[in-house]
């Protein structure tokens, strides 16, 4: 591989938002008091825009290079040096991370602007923007870090910011609990992630090339072949561990449980962190390490199965939810499932493509729902909405466009990217008709629940109370303009990745230097078109049912919800009771263990002391009985002294030390005797 081109502006893409966060974090409270909220948002938004412009510059710099030489690097300093391991603080940009930084700074920037309006009445305005900036910094670190360890720093950083922002309105206890849940569930995933890093490092180190840098891992990846550990290939195990990390961060089965609760955070946070950027980190990580994943067919299979299972599972839950944001949350989990399905059939480019289009339409949907919630005075129950179309034209149109996109309506962004994944799931060497058909069913469900939401919120008669109806209003420009831009993006973003049938994807071509040439399709264009028509037809059925149920009212929802005695509906509505099961097993389990341990720790000494005091008492009693007539005076005195001492010592609590020490002494002597016996 050629030497990468050294630059010195990449660092600013990452560091500018940190600068904003530091300024607002340290001085925000005073600045807000003295100069008002305008200054706070300027301090926060300017760096993100700066990063965006620099990202565009990086993009142009990349375009100017030969495709196979497209990477820039900016090395700051050496972070860790020890023996065989050298870790730099260095940022690098190749076509893959270029896409990511543009998404993060571009869509992130729009969400920052939207927040000016959404958070306007909040007193902790400065705190909000501090964390938003800090998040942007961590996320940029994650996607530009040139080695696994640096990525891990970003990985943990985004988790921390996500935690702080979910619990942003900490006055409500529900919110802080949701934040904790997100943090701790994520740490479970991070455990897998760090183990994966260790495993890769360790194996390479044994062969004399200990490294965590991506480029070097790629260079030496072949060394991992045929290496075995714990009865499995190292590549398989390491990628599986890393995938555990991905299931945590990207909310896949079994670690998805935190994301729906994360909706407790302010809506811009849901849009930025829990839809457009952070939750896609797992997909990015797999794409980044695609060379390892491609070496581990078993892992790929697991990724694909988990992906499609999550896509279906979350979609079924979304069918029945009534909270406007929860529907979107489950839809996000489901869409992330599609991305993993794409990655799992080794169609990394398709996964990243869906990641990008999804960022547009899901951010737009979330921000639109935020606009609705804003207008409804904080109401999130779709059962109390309806008929908002006329009052909020901008919100309605942008929301509708994004719904069209996510449902896979032809010629929208979601259509192209989802179809690319489905086509790959069918035709790739790792794909199968089964994966494809499950994916198509999920697409049908998606169309149903998204149109259900659209009809419930914007059509029909208003079900809100009189007071709310009077206060209905369109959101200010600062909120609607980002919506419009995102809606345009939801359509336009798809057109850079046209399917083979329609002339081929520029997007895939752009990513080619990273992922290599997409494998030649054996099948001709015929099946691709056929499959496409199939999935569109299924989605249309989903739309049509939603239309009949919630627009025309021709079909009563009860006819479905009462299927199988309503058991199915209850199962979906209660999210398969997974939260309850986790609570019972893991949370209660850990607490029980901890409390029992603490109890033993505190009482063991007392127990031993009581035991020894009682034993002494029994012995003296026995002695007393035996020798009653011989030396009863002395015995009584002895017994009395024992009792007296025992009582005294127990009060001061130093007495129990005695017994503890005796026990330890006995155990030690015993251990040494045993040890010596066995050695000789």
């Amino acid at each position: 591989m050629d030497q990468p081109i050294q630059t010195d502006y990449l660092r600013w893409i990452v560091l500018l938002p940190l600068l904003g966060a530091a300024t607002n974090g340290l001085l925000g409270a005073q600045l807000q008091k003295r100069f008002g909220k305008g200054l706070i948002s300027t301090i926060a938004i300017a760096p993100v825009l700066g990063s965006f412009l620099l990202s565009v510059r990086a993009l142009f710099d990349l375009v100017a290079l030969q495709p196979e030489q497209r990477f820039l690097i900016d090395r700051l300093y050496t972070w860790i040096t020890t023996g065989s391991l050298n870790v730099d603080v260095a940022f690098w940009i190749d076509p893959l991370s270029a896409v990511m930084i543009l998404v993060v700074t571009g869509i992130g920037g729009l969400i920052h602007i939207y927040s000016i309006g959404y958070m306007h009445d909040d007193n902790s305005y400065w705190r909000f923007f501090t964390f938003l900036n800090l998040f942007t910094f961590a996320m940029l670190l994650l996607v530009t870090g040139d080695n696994l360890l640096l990525v891990f720093v970003g990985w943990e950083g985004v988790g921390l910011c996500s935690y702080a922002l979910i619990g942003f309105w900490y006055q409500d206890h529900v919110n802080t609990t949701a934040g904790n849940k997100a943090f701790i569930v994520n740490r479970v995933g991070d455990f897998g992630f760090i183990l994966g890093i260790f495993l890769i490092f360790w194996t390479l180190d044994h062969q004399g090339h200990g490294t965590v840098s991506f480029r070097e891992i790629q260079k030496f990846a072949s060394l991992l072949k045929n290496q075995e550990i714990w009865g499995g290939g190292v590549a398989t195990l390491a990628t599986l561990f890393l995938f555990v990390g991905a299931t945590g961060k990207s909310a896949q089965i079994p670690l998805y449980v935190w994301l729906p609760d994360a909706m407790q955070g302010p809506t811009p946070v849901s849009a930025l962190i829990h839809a457009a950027t952070m939750v896609t980190a797992g997909v990015y990580m797999i794409a980044r390490l695609h060379f390892l994943y491609s070496m581990a067919p078993l892992t790929l299979e697991v990724v694909a199965v988990i992906g499609v299972a999550t896509a279906l599972f979350a979609a079924t839950i979304a069918l029945t939810q009534n909270d406007i944001k929860r529907v979107l949350a489950y839809s996000t989990i489901s869409q992330l499932g599609y991305m993993f399905l794409g990655a799992g059939v080794a169609a990394y480019g398709a996964a990243i493509f869906h990641l990008m289009t999804h960022a547009f339409f899901k951010a737009c949907l979330f921000l639109g729902s935020g606009s609705v919630i804003h207008a409804m005075g904080g109401e999130q129950d779709m059962g109390k909405m309806g008929g908002l179309r006329s009052a909020m034209p901008y919100t309605f149109w942008t929301f509708a466009i994004s719904v069209l996109a996510i449902a896979g309506t032809p010629l929208t962004g979601g259509f192209f990217s989802k179809d690319e994944i489905l086509w790959q799931a069918f035709s790739s060497a790792h794909g199968s008709p089964l994966l494809w058909s499950l994916g198509v069913v999920g697409a049908g469900l998606t169309a149903f629940y998204m149109f259900r939401q659209l009809f419930l919120v914007f059509f029909g008669n208003s079900r809100a109370d009189h007071h709310t109806q009077e206060h209905l209003h369109e959101s200010p420009k600062v909120m609607t303009v980002p919506l419009v831009i995102l809606a345009i993006g939801s359509i336009a973003a798809g057109w850079i990745g046209l399917p083979e049938v329609f002339g081929g994807s520029q997007f895939a071509e752009w990513l080619e230097p990273v992922f290599g040439k997409p494998h030649e399709m054996a099948a001709s264009e015929g099946p691709e078109l056929l499959l496409m028509i199939c999935s569109v037809a299924v989605a249309a059925v989903g739309f049509f049912i939603a239309y009949l149920m919630y627009y025309r009212g021709a079909l009563a929802p009860e006819r479905f919800s009462s299927l199988a005695g309503g058991a199915l509906y209850r199962l979906f509505y209660n999210k398969y009771y997974v939260d309850e099961i986790y609570q019972a097993i893991f949370v209660r389990g850990t607490l029980l263990l901890a409390r029992t341990g603490a109890w033993i720790d505190q009482h063991i000494i007392d127990f031993i002391v009581d035991g020894s005091a009682k034993t002494t008492a029994y012995i003296s009693w026995f002695n007393g009985l035996f020798d009653n007539y011989v030396i009863d005076g002395i015995v009584n005195a002895l017994a009395n002294i024992t009792f007296w001492a025992g009582g005294k010592f127990r009060k001061v609590q130093t007495g129990n030390i005695n017994s503890y020490l005796y026990v330890i002494l006995g155990a030690v002597v015993l251990a040494i005797i045993v040890r010596l016996r066995y050695s000789s």
């Binding site: 860790i80 850990t590 901890a594 063991i604 503890y660 330890i664 040494i672």
Partner: protein
């Protein structure tokens, strides 16, 4: 015979300062006692500077019973720094309680002297002397707040357990002496390598007894029962001092005696220590979850950290040894900082040490909240703070030496620890109704100590390269 006294310099300097403090204490009026703190700080700083200039020397005194190598100097700097931060954060505490400051500072200095000797001792007897010098000082410090029953109880417990543990140690030393005819570590290790695998039972029994004595001192499972009670009963600055400096001194023993000199008999002590490391961190972390007092939680957390540190001892050799040294260095600022923040909540006679007292601190005192969050996250091993880099090196050393299980269990444990460290942050930022913390104006030195700790925690996380190379050099200076 000409005696080289250079190796004694840092210890002598600290002793001299202690004596000065004791002497001046007689002549100063009550309101002038604050001066003593500054004398102690100056003395410590001088000693630290001395150690800095002696860096790189390789000398011995008293027939090499006392060594002046980079290893000893590295630990000396840790002890001096810890003592310095402890004194800075004690000034406010002493004013609020009526602990007599003269004795208090002098005792801290005396036990620091003991620690320095422990780290420099190349002879089991001298090590024992250092240990006793340190311990006696700390016993008294634990019970110094005489009006508090808990303090006296803790001191009594600590003393009894400590004496007991020393008993093991001393008996072990006696057995080793009986078998090898020497208490000098170099000669013992020479003897051990000569009679390879043919060691007399006496030596092995002696090694085990020394092992147990040192396990007591670091509070490893199952010798940890005293830790929570003693740590909770002691005055809070002393708790910080104990959980950092006393522990580091004991680990200096582990590093020099076991990792280095007894490495020949490693298969004897390696396996039990391996089990002990796993149990210690797991038990410490599990029990910390159930606590309702932050001080007690920190006590269990320090047990857990002893477990992490034992990973370095088990891993052994250069990777394990230098990772151990680096982790001790990284562990010092974050732990001392956490105790310092705890001290900032003290109000008059009342120690506010429960989780509930922390409620809302982050909003009322943003600086304290931020500092405590940094310490908690660092203790939990969050990047890019010192706790992360430290753990990373430790786990890496385990992996490099083939103890993958220790790395995995260690990582799992640090996951578990998040539960209780996070609770402090949640309390500080997301609940209200706790106590008012001291403002800067009332306890400036405490704040200075916290700032230093924050800088250390962040600095060792972001720029660990130099500190790591120093700890590597220090470990390799062992002969």
């Amino acid at each position: 015979m000409e005696t080289n006294l250079t190796p004694l310099l840092p210890a002598a300097e600290v002793t001299l300062t202690a004596l000065t403090v004791l002497l001046l204490d007689l002549f100063l009026r009550e309101e002038e006692k604050g001066f003593l703190a500054w004398i102690s700080v100056t003395g410590l700083a001088l000693a630290a500077g001395m150690a800095f200039f002696l860096w790189g020397s390789q000398e011995g005194a008293f027939r090499n019973t006392l060594l002046l190598d980079d290893f000893a100097l590295f630990f000396t700097e840790i002890f001096l720094g810890t003592a310095l931060l402890t004194i800075l954060s004690s000034i406010h505490y002493l004013r609020e309680t009526n602990i007599r400051s003269g004795e208090y500072y002098a005792l801290i200095l005396f036990s620091t002297t003991g620690m320095i000797l422990m780290a420099a001792a190349n002879d089991l007897i001298l090590f024992f002397l250092g240990l006793e010098t340190m311990s006696v000082g700390v016993y008294i410090l634990t019970g110094m707040w005489r009006e508090r029953v808990e303090a006296s109880e803790a001191a009594m417990k600590y003393f009894l357990i400590g004496a007991f543990a020393t008993g093991f140690l001393l008996y072990g030393i006696a057995l080793i002496f009986g078998a090898t005819g020497s208490t000098n570590l170099t000669r013992i290790s020479f003897f051990l390598s000569l009679s390879f695998h043919q060691w007399p039972l006496l030596v092995i029994a002696g090694v085990y007894l020394v092992f147990i004595g040192l396990a007591f001192k670091i509070g490893a499972f199952p010798f940890h029962f005293w830790v929570p009670d003693v740590y909770e009963g002691a005055p809070t600055p002393i708790t910080g001092f104990m959980s950092v400096a006393v522990k580091a001194a004991a680990f200096a023993g582990w590093a020099r005696i076991f990792v280095h000199q007894f490495s020949v008999v490693e298969h004897e002590w390696g396996v039990p220590l391996h089990a002990l490391a796993i149990l210690t961190m797991t038990v410490g972390n599990l029990l910390a979850i159930a606590q309702s007092s932050v001080k007690r939680m920190l006590a269990y957390s320090s047990i857990a950290h002893a477990g992490y540190l034992l990973i370095g001892v088990v891993a052994g050799k250069e990777p394990g040894g230098s990772a151990l040294l680096f982790y001790l260095l990284a562990y010092a600022p974050m732990t001392l900082g956490a105790f310092a923040v705890l001290l900032a909540l003290k109000d008059g006679e009342k120690d506010n040490e429960s989780y509930d007292d922390f409620a809302g601190v982050g909003l009322k005192r943003p600086f304290l909240g931020m500092a405590m969050s940094i310490f908690m996250l660092s203790l939990a091993g969050f990047p890019p703070l010192s706790g992360f880099t430290g753990k990373f090196y430790l786990f890496r050393s385990a992996i490099v030496s083939g103890y993958t299980d220790l790395a995995i269990i260690g990582a799992l444990n640090s996951l578990l620890s998040v539960i209780y460290y996070l609770r402090v942050i949640v309390k500080m930022y997301m609940e209200q109704g706790g106590v008012e913390a001291q403002p800067f104006a009332k306890a400036p030195c405490l704040y200075v100590a916290i700032v230093i700790a924050v800088l250390g925690t962040v600095g060792l996380g972001l720029l660990p390269a130099r500190a790591l190379s120093l700890s590597g050099v220090s470990y390799l200076s062992l002969r």
